[in-house]
Amino acid sequence: MIEGTRLQTAGRKAAAGGSRPARRPAPDRRPAAAPAPEPVEAEAPASEPAPRLLALKHKHLLGMEGLTADEIALILDTARSFAEVSTRSIKKVPTLRGRTIVNFFMEPSTRTRSSFEIAEKRLSADTLNFSPSQSSVVKGESLLDTARNLEAMAPDMIVIRHKASGAPHFLARHCRSNIINAGDGWHEHPTQALLDAFTIREKKGRLQGLRVAIVGDLMHSRVLRSNIFLLKTMGADVVVCGPPTLIPVELSRLGVGVTFRVDEAVEGADVVMMLRIQTERQKGGAFPSTREYYNLFGLTAERARRARPDVIIMHPGPMNRGVEIDSAVADGPYSVILEQVTNGVAVRMAVLYLLAGGTLGELAD
């Protein structure tokens, strides 16, 4: 029991190179210089800097927008520590024992919901799963009333998935619990972006300077938005691609390249991330048929060859085989799609742990 519950973090040396959390500044950090007119972006270090943060100061995780590189690195490093737990025979630590977490899923979800649930269980939290089909939502109860009733049972955290962008912000305004956004409308899906980043870092050792192509329905994708915020903050080079009918306006202002030529997007990519095409969108007139979509934007083995030889292929799921991605690519040697799912658990454990007030220091000890 004891040994099964103790976190083992020795030997988790990451790309940072013996990154024992410490207060020393990163080696290449500029000295606090004379007054500069604007905060200067730190020069790109060759590798991830040693984590300068040990704890997350936020009460909620509503999105990746606004999170700093240090905060993202902290979550990813913490996830590294937790990844080991899932490799044990007894996959459980007592970290969140006695805490109650509600998984409030107002939209269908397989991966995210199971992933959160497993993460919570491996942290020994008590979990309650709550979804519309089994709740008063079908009786027309408002989101606010539902949330207040959940709150009345004094949960510590609420993990929310909702079809309306901003629903987690709404909850954050009206609830005392920590709110974790598990996907809101077209807005953000921060833990997906974190698990994507974790997966990339495991494979490539870094995020800085990588060329990441994101292809698919950009308009309706919360995964896209969270990934752009995270990847740009971590210094990756992002190019996005989709039919112009599915590209939200002024997207390039987020600092990404925008193209509707998939070959151009994939060219020289270190990472190709495919986004799901929802067939409902076809009814909205965004493209004439899934067949034509596949012809123009589907990731085939031939197209994938334009990427770097060590490219990794990612997909947040659920996949439409033969629409946005060919099975030969999805199941091929460059695909890390199932690893993404595995890593999701560790990343969510890290997020839950840090939002509950945990620190990386405690883990390292």
Partner: protein, 428 residues
């Protein structure tokens, strides 16, 4: 006294007898000598303006009294410095005929505290198919026609309505929007909607409809009034059409003059930042301010749209469009447009009294001798904080709660009767 209709901007005494302006004179020694039984409002240092006219409000009665009623809405108007309001026909049932128009007029007489001018439907049931009985409604007191939130999307019907309205000399007020382009958008389409993941309503959805309406108005010769104009492109089209002699007027709302789409992000999806047309870009807002100065915009109207608190306490996507404005319009315009943008006080009165009265063809908007004694007294230096809990309106859906604003109405007089006093300006 500021009364652009009579080119007046001077310190004056105003004598009101039997609900009308009886006399205006330069103050003399021994002023304040009101006729026996009269009352003096001491307004030294304040602006004495013709009663303000809000030409675009929703009083929700009949049918939606949980949101607002004629009584509560007119109390809100009085508190906000308005002596007249024109109410849109999207009641339940819609004001598309004599019976509803007569009900509104009668209820306003019974319980209203300011003048209420009904706006009738263009089409039966506001359905955009057949002309409503406009003549009947005008006979009962309607001063304009509009299908309110529903654009008159059928250009043929629009032509018929504009031509038919010429019989009565009333304007057709259109909510210009191409619903196909708006689709199910909930905020202005731009960088902010992209980041927030909310479906956008492009500027073009308004501009397409404005262009269509202007072309039809040019042909039909009727009087077109564009409601709550919100984009730079719409304004340019109006400017050009007017130069070509098209009889078109337009209004802007205070929220489009003060807020932008960025407010949706800054407020973290506050449903009180959701209205239609949506809060536009900063560039659009600047263009509107320019339109106020150069005269392209004729009127400022609140588009007072009360909703029950429960209706707005939902996800942004689910919330109904609209915010209330009767009790914040005057201070917002005074603080943000007059004080911060240098809009002239006389222009303020034109935008909020003289022009809306002229557009609606009602005998208001001036303090000329013989005019109805509707007066709004404004203290341009009074600083107060907006507190929705003090509103006379039944609704609380305002994004301006907690805003500190300078310049407030301190007395509202309708036909010689004081219906609202914020400060004890009265002596004796």
């Amino acid at each position: 006294m500021i009364d652009p209709a009579t080119k007046t901007d001077a310190v004056m005494d105003l004598l009101i007898v039997d609900g009308r302006v009886a006399e205006r004179r330069a103050p003399e020694k021994g002023r304040g000598a009101a006729p026996a039984g009269g009352r003096v409002l001491e307004a030294t240092g304040h602006w004495v303006c013709p009663g303000l006219v809000d030409m675009h409000v929703h009083l929700r009665e009949p049918g939606q009294e949980h949101k607002e009623s004629i009584e509560s809405g007119t109390r809100a108007a009085a508190a906000g410095g308005f002596t007249s309001v024109a109410c849109m026909p999207n009641t339940d049932p819609w004001n598309d005929g004599l019976s509803v128009t007569e009900y509104i007029v009668a209820e306003a007489r019974r319980r209203g505290v300011v003048n209420v001018f009904p706006i009738g439907c263009v089409s039966k049931g506001g359905l955009g198919a057949e002309l409503a009985e406009i003549g009947d409604m005008v006979r009962s007191g309607a001063v304009a026609v509009s299908d309110d939130g529903r654009p008159v999307g059928n250009s043929y019907l629009l032509r018929m309505a504009l031509e038919y309205a010429k019989i009565f000399g009333i304007p057709l007020i259109d909510h210009c929007e191409d619903r196909n382009l708006s689709a199910s958008g909930v905020m202005h389409e731009g960088f902010v909607s992209t980041v927030l993941g909310l479906k956008g309503i492009p500027a073009a959805s308004e501009e397409v409809a404005v262009a269509t309406d202007l072309a039809v108005a040019a042909m039909s010769g009727g009087r077109l009034h564009v409601a709550h104009l919100s984009t730079r492109g719409s304004l340019e089209k109006i400017r050009r059409a007017r130069a070509d002699g098209v009889a078109v007027t337009c209004e802007a709302t205070p929220h489009h003059l003060v807020l932008t789409d960025q407010s949706v992000a800054d407020s973290h999806y506050d449903p009180n930042m959701k209205m239609n047309p949506p809060l536009r870009s900063e560039e659009d807002r600047q263009a509107l301010l320019q339109g106020l100065r150069d005269g392209t915009i004729d009127a400022i109207a609140s588009d007072h749209a009360p909703h029950h608190a429960d209706e707005k306490l939902v996800e942004f996507d689910e919330a109904p469009f609209g915010i209330i404005g009767l009790e914040t319009t005057v201070p917002l315009v005074l603080d943000r447009c007059v004080r911060k943008e240098g809009l002239a006080p006389a222009r303020f009165v034109e935008l909020l009294a003289q022009n809306p009265a002229r557009i609606l063809g009602i005998n208001k908007g001036t303090l000329a001798v013989g005019a109805d004694a509707d007066v709004t007294i404004i203290d341009p230096d009074l600083g107060r904080t907006v507190d929705v809990s003090q509103f006379k309106s039944k609704a609380r859906n305002s994004p301006f709660h907690g805003w500190r604003l300078r310049g407030w109405p301190v007395a509202t007089v309708v036909a010689g009767r004081v219906v609202h006093e914020l400060l004890p300006v009265a002596t004796r």
